[in-house]
Symmetry: C2
Subunit: 383 residues, 2 copies
């Protein structure tokens, strides 16, 4: 019998009830039913974002909202610091350059902590207040690194640079108080911790970022947030929204709040620790050494000799139906990744860890049978 | 019992089987299952577009693909002719201006035919071949006007201006041979005749348009088609696609091809004639006078005295569950619109026409009971 266990960094598995809610009939997106829906969704998302500021629902994947986060608040020629320690950090830098910003990449090797000191030094030296924005990815799913957003927020301090953050693979799974951390523009996608299929993206905007929007000279049309605000006031979106995802999001959010934010954070923390302990019991190395920076939603593991990542993924998938991810870009062939976010539980992870143990054995890597599952169980037992 | 009949210009009703297919579980968008799916979908969409050229699936609504149609093939400062005779024609002009093109709007009043002579005169006088593109909406759903794309294509002739067309509310419902009409860039959305919920958009690109893409200097990231091509070669999309819509699209296309293209065109033609005959039997005036320009998918009707459009829509919706649309922009309050596209049949239209008759009577407009349904029946009988 074919049965699959999806343990990739996204799209994450979705609850059955959300899948069923996707089967909605169509209705008018310019009528009272949609108005009620978008108002309810916006309000609930603001609670997850922990923000009282503006929040918009866009029909696009997360990258579309990343583009919106740049083109609405900056102008060509403006200076931007992009913190980069993985594939997704580079994306903000690419978008900003594409639209004519003068981007300074502050890079560290993939899998290493961000260069917090380098950021601090640049901001201190910037007496003319030339930097207009700092971009950063909260949870770098290409490496399983959780960047220290609170520290970045502190380092930014009173500097007027906007703090623009990609939380695609963290929002909902990790405590992330957007307003109290002073995040000006915060972007996420529907298909990670928010229990929905891909197709929607969400973006919050602080008041001081909003003041910049009117002056921004980067071109935009589909992602124009001033227009989105104008329509939101009527309970609409400027362009036809992905209605099915909107209806299903209500169901996803109901499930999310039934678990409760704190319990959801705890579940993700516990799953991450379980995977980490399990792979270490097998003698494998997580890519991110310092557990303080270990992502609660994605764990990247260095591949052991003599196994190849392709072999390992194929073995786990064809024999057990378990799908994990490989590495991206410069890490391709060097790491494999477990996603543990969205509708995934510790019990699902045990399936993944068991299949990892068996696949490694089959591929000639020495394994003490059961050791990884035992290590995971001890974490899960503690809750 | 609450039961709704959606007869707006979109989102159109979807078949039950498509709704059920939206309930798909999640899977890896960078694996073989998605590769097979996107290849199959692209191939089927090319058949509907009647094109052998490149075709891309974007996670966005139709306007996103309209943006892609501009920003990938033009550079700031280039001259563009935008033919405008309704709300959506103006959208292409707005996008092109936003991204720095020098746009010449060739306008006629909403609901009037395009200024074909004006286009011809401009192209003739353009000895320096300065115009780089002509934009036009095939089916203007704001007015129910079907523009004569074949004639525009003939007028363009050997002029190197790209022909960029919005077929959001026509593709699939109307015979539209993209290659043989020389359409360079053709855009549509999922939520109209293609039997799917909103959230995907499709764009085809001719070889000569593709050659321009490499030289285009307008900024783009999310809608970058060169990147889309690079990923499509691997059976992927650059960014996480709306997986549920992709899975459901396969079901929608199965239903579409089971009906057959010609039958589908005939159904839409017949529905349009039925509505037109019905409203004329009631003494009402279609906004588009000349039946040769009457849209097969949307019919706009001038409101009769003493009825207000809001009253009429409310009466039809609250008493019969029938939802029709009002006018947009300058036509707000002056027209009402029937959408008859996607999973709508002649039988559904009879419900709409009956409720129109009864609502008009209730609002004090004199009606000979049954006259409109009788007129519609005569059209539907002829098939």
């Amino acid at each position: 019998m074919e049965k699959n266990y999806l343990l990739i960094p996204g799209p994450a598995p979705i609850p059955e009830a959300v899948a069923r809610a996707m089967s909605t009939e169509m209705f008018n997106h310019r009528g009272p039913r949609f108005k009620k829906l978008i108002e309810e969704l916006t309000f609930s998302l603001q609670k997850i974002f922990q923000t009282g500021e503006r929040l918009f629902i866009l029909t696009a994947s997360g990258t579309g909202a990343m583009e919106a986060a740049i083109v609405n608040f900056l102008s060509p020629g403006e200076k931007v610091i992009s913190l980069v320690n993985g594939s997704f950090g580079g994306r903000f830098a690419d978008i900003a350059s594409t639209y004519g910003a003068e981007v300074e990449r502050v890079e560290t090797p993939w899998g290493q902590p961000l260069d917090y000191e380098g950021l601090e030094a640049r901001l201190r030296a910037d007496n003319g207040r030339a930097y207009r924005a700092i971009t950063v990815v909260h949870n770098e799913s290409s490496t399983g690194m959780l960047n220290d957003l609170k520290r970045i927020s502190r380092l930014r301090g009173e500097h007027p640079a906007l703090l623009i953050v990609d939380t695609v693979s963290s929002m909902g799974a990790i405590d992330l108080p957007v307003d109290s951390w002073g995040i000006d523009v915060c972007v996420t996608g529907s298909q990670k911790a928010l229990l929905l299929p891909p197709g929607l993206a969400f973006i919050s905007v602080s008041e001081r970022a909003w003041e910049r929007a009117a002056r921004s000279k980067m071109p935009k049309y589909y992602f124009d947030l001033l227009k989105a605000q104008e329509y939101l006031e009527k309970g609409q979106t400027p362009f036809t929204p992905a209605l099915s995802q909107c209806v299903a999001l209500r169901e996803g959010l109901r499930i999310y709040f039934a678990e409760g934010r704190e319990n959801c954070y705890a579940r993700h923390r516990s799953m991450a620790r379980a995977v980490r302990e399990a792979v270490q019991a097998l003698g494998l190395q997580p890519l991110v050494k310092d557990p303080r920076y270990a992502s609660p939603t994605v764990t990247a593991i260095k591949k052991p000799e003599p196994v190849s990542v392709d072999q390992l993924r194929r073995e786990m998938f064809t024999r057990f139906g378990v799908e994990i991810a490989g590495g991206q870009g410069q890490l391709e062939g060097r790491i494999f990744r477990f996603g543990h976010l969205g509708a995934v539980t510790g019990a699902d992870l045990v399936v993944g860890i068991t299949s990892l143990e068996l696949a490694l054995q089959a591929l000639g890597y020495p394994v003490e049978p059961g050791c990884a599952v035992k290590a995971a169980e001890e974490v899960l037992k503690a809750g």
